[in-house]
């Protein structure tokens, strides 16, 4: 399981690194650019957890709705 999560982290990181320089997302008051997002993802465990949680929630959502259950 842990190795799967590490794999997921690598995929997210490579996705973030492939973003164009103008990548930017807004979360509340915060505005994150590509560099800041990558830096946070690498350094902050809390942030990493948050993103992984979002990825997993999206995957679950797509899976369930794909089955027509939602």
């Amino acid at each position: 399981m842990m190795s799967d999560l590490k794999e997921l982290e690598k995929i997210i990181l490579s996705y973030l690194e492939s973003r164009p320089p103008g990548f930017k997302w807004v979360k509340g008051f915060e505005v994150y650019d590509k560099q800041k997002t990558i830096e946070l993802f690498k350094k902050s465990e809390e942030f990493r957890k948050y993103i992984i949680e979002q990825v997993l929630k999206l995957a679950t959502d797509l899976f369930i709705r794909g089955k027509g259950e939602k």
Partner: protein
């Protein structure tokens, strides 16, 4: 035609997108309602007056919010919070608000709200260094808080009574002035609980101690033309004082037509730095120097902000070697500074002043000046001509003025008094407490634990007005708000696909404006629309946060997202007994009077001396409550 009220964002970088989304909605609302559009600069009072005078059926709020409040444009006050939530009674409230707010902490990433400080951040400690935060705390506090305002830097600090403050007690002996005695008698600092401090005691601010700062270092390494760094810093100073970013049209500097020397200097700096000729627009009493460069515009906006009240400095400027800060200060003071002669008790002396409306910039400047050992006097006052915004005025007197004048290379006469109300001793700025008072408070307070030094520098410990946007929605529903639309978590979006997010945020109201009145159906269609957007988005990041926003959406009304959870035992009992729609509406007084009435009736025959007063009290309580409701 019914009335509607639109409260627009305060326009910072995060809300610059939702400004446009709110604008789209405004056009559609106008077709069905008489719309009052309250834009940037609106205060709580204005909103309250608009609601009372216009009596709008629909209130649309597009701005930042917190759990228990909609934060508006005016600093330090909420547009709607739990104290005036009854204004939403019998109305439809449609909001795009989320997020926390509060007081300021000096971190290695700039000045931050204490509620935004996270474990792993670095905050300024009493050692003058940035130390790691190892834990953050948030708790409910119902009781007294202590408000301390130093004489010189008049940022009030709010603390719980038992919170330790690094301070020194004033000693009542000897004839020498305090500032001399502190030094000659080597007064020592100690941790004193806020409740034990009194007027005249000293609180301190540590002098920053940056030996090898990575922020400034990385900027200086990245700067491709090191011989032009001084010119760049001077232009940055001018921008913070007089500049503005105008999107694709570049950056502009606005001056009075008499400021010929400054206009000439800015033009020179632009030519030297960017090898471009700026355009000059003469508008009679004002002159604008403009440079059309989109990249520069975005860059300056990110680093220094736009609009006067949102101006800021990036951390690499604050921590830069002092030699580079001198041209920055020259530019800054050329724009917003002034020197005047002050007459007092038949004496006259020079005073250098600087004024800004940006709270963040004011804190940052305090930090920056302290690096030079300069302690200004900071006054905060509301300015009517600035739309009731706070004005932060820095005044430099005595030895502080001499130090600053040397940096700025301006000539001033030698002041007769060299001492200041605040002074530097043992690597701290010592400030006398000018005012200390106790206030009642019920809400959340925050605290952080710092590694090593166990201390941090803060304008104030955050005091939120309690509960949750979850809380505001629940409270609004309790007070009879017909429909409360909001988010139970941060609304987040990918800038690349911001239109998708805007369409999703606006969809519910659009449907209602088209004539669908059943909010259960609206929410259902809304979620379906959100799902379509998630499926059609090509970017996974967009998909991810569309999903997150979809799940954060709440439509609090009868039959939809009705609040069911409460920490209060009696409320949960009422919810179980009477269901959600009635259970939330029973007030504490009504509940108590019912219990007293039952007890009174049960005991009236056997113990009439107890029974009759109980019935009377319950009667009085219910009458009071009824009259209150009627009012």
């Amino acid at each position: 035609m019914s009335q509607a009220l639109l409260i627009r964002p305060r326009f910072d970088e995060a809300t610059s997108y939702s400004w446009a989304w709110a604008g789209e909605l405004a056009e559609e609302i106008k077709g069905r309602f008489n719309l009052t559009d309250l834009s940037d600069g609106v205060s709580r009072k204005q909103v309250e007056e608009a609601i009372k005078s216009k009596d709008p059926y629909l209130i649309v709020f597009y701005d930042h919010g917190i759990e228990g409040a909609w934060i508006g444009n005016a600093e330090g006050e909420h547009i709607i919070d739990l104290t005036n939530v009854q204004l939403l009674t019998n109305r439809i409230a449609y909001s795009m608000a989320c997020i926390p707010e509060g007081y300021h902490i000096y971190t290695n990433d700039g000045i931050k709200d204490i509620s935004e400080v996270k474990e792993g951040d670095y905050v300024l400690s009493h050692n003058g260094t940035f130390d790691k935060v190892i834990k953050t705390f948030k708790r409910q506090h119902n009781g007294e808080i202590i408000v301390i305002t130093p004489k010189v830097i008049k940022f009030p600090i709010k603390l719980t009574p038992e919170h330790p403050v690094l301070a020194c007690r004033f000693k009542m002996k000897g004839k020498k002035p305090h500032y001399q005695r502190v030094k000659s008698e080597n007064w020592q600092l100690e941790w004193i609980e806020a409740k034990n401090l009194k007027k005249g005691d000293y609180v301190v601010f540590p002098l920053p101690n940056f030996e090898d700062d990575k922020f400034a270092k990385s900027f200086l390494e990245a700067f491709t033309e090191p011989d032009k760094i001084f010119e760049f810093m001077e232009l940055a100073g001018f921008y913070v004082a007089e500049g503005d970013s105008i999107g694709k049209e570049g950056i502009r500097f606005s001056f009075g037509s008499h400021e010929v020397g400054r206009i000439k200097r800015v033009k020179e700096l632009i030519r030297v730095l960017f090898n471009k000729e700026p355009s000059v627009v003469n508008q009679g009493s004002s002159i604008t120097v403009r440079l059309g460069d989109y990249v520069l515009s975005r860059l300056f906006r990110t680093w220094f902000g736009c609009k006067a009240k949102l101006k800021k400095m990036p951390m690499w400027i604050i921590t830069m070697p002092k030699i580079y800060l001198i041209p920055f200060l020259k530019g800054l003071f050329a724009g917003d500074g002034s020197i005047y002669v002050h007459h007092f008790q038949s004496k006259s002396y020079h005073v250098i002043t600087y004024a800004t409306s940006s709270e963040v910039l004011a804190h940052q400047l305090l930090f920056l000046f302290s690096r030079f050992g300069i302690v200004p006097t900071v006054n905060i006052e509301k300015q009517r001509k600035w739309g009731n915004r706070s004005k932060y005025t820095f005044a430099f007197r005595g030895s502080n003025m001499i130090k600053l004048a040397k940096l700025l290379e301006v000539k001033i006469s030698e002041p007769k008094e060299l001492h200041n109300k605040a002074f530097i001793f043992n690597n701290f700025i010592w400030m006398e407490i000018g005012d200390i008072k106790t206030e009642q408070f019920n809400g959340f307070v925050y605290n952080i634990e710092v590694e090593g030094s166990n201390s941090y520098v803060c304008e104030g410990i955050t005091v939120h007005n309690c509960l949750s946007a979850k809380g505001l929605g629940v409270e609004a529903y309790r007070k009879g708000c017909k429909v409360f639309v909001g988010y139970a978590d941060n609304f987040t979006f990918n800038v690349q696909d911001e239109k998708m997010f805007g369409d999703c945020a606006n969809y519910g109201l659009r449907l209602w404006l088209k004539g669908e009145s059943d909010w259960a159906k609206i929410k259902q269609s809304w979620i379906e629309f959100w799902n379509k957007m998630i499926d059609s988005a090509s970017d996974p990041w967009t998909k991810m946060f569309l999903r997150s926003d979809r799940d954060a959406l709440r439509v609090i009304t009868k039959g939809v997202d009705e609040p069911t959870e409460t920490k209060c035992f009696f409320r949960s009992l009422a919810l179980k007994l009477f269901g959600t729609s009635l259970g939330w509406k029973i007030t504490r007084k009504a509940g108590l009077s019912t219990i007293l009435l039952i007890l009174g009736l049960a005991s009236v025959l056997t113990l009439p001396y107890i029974g009759i007063p109980l019935i009377l009290i319950s009667y009085l309580l219910i009458t009071y409550e009824y009259l209150n409701q009627l009012k």
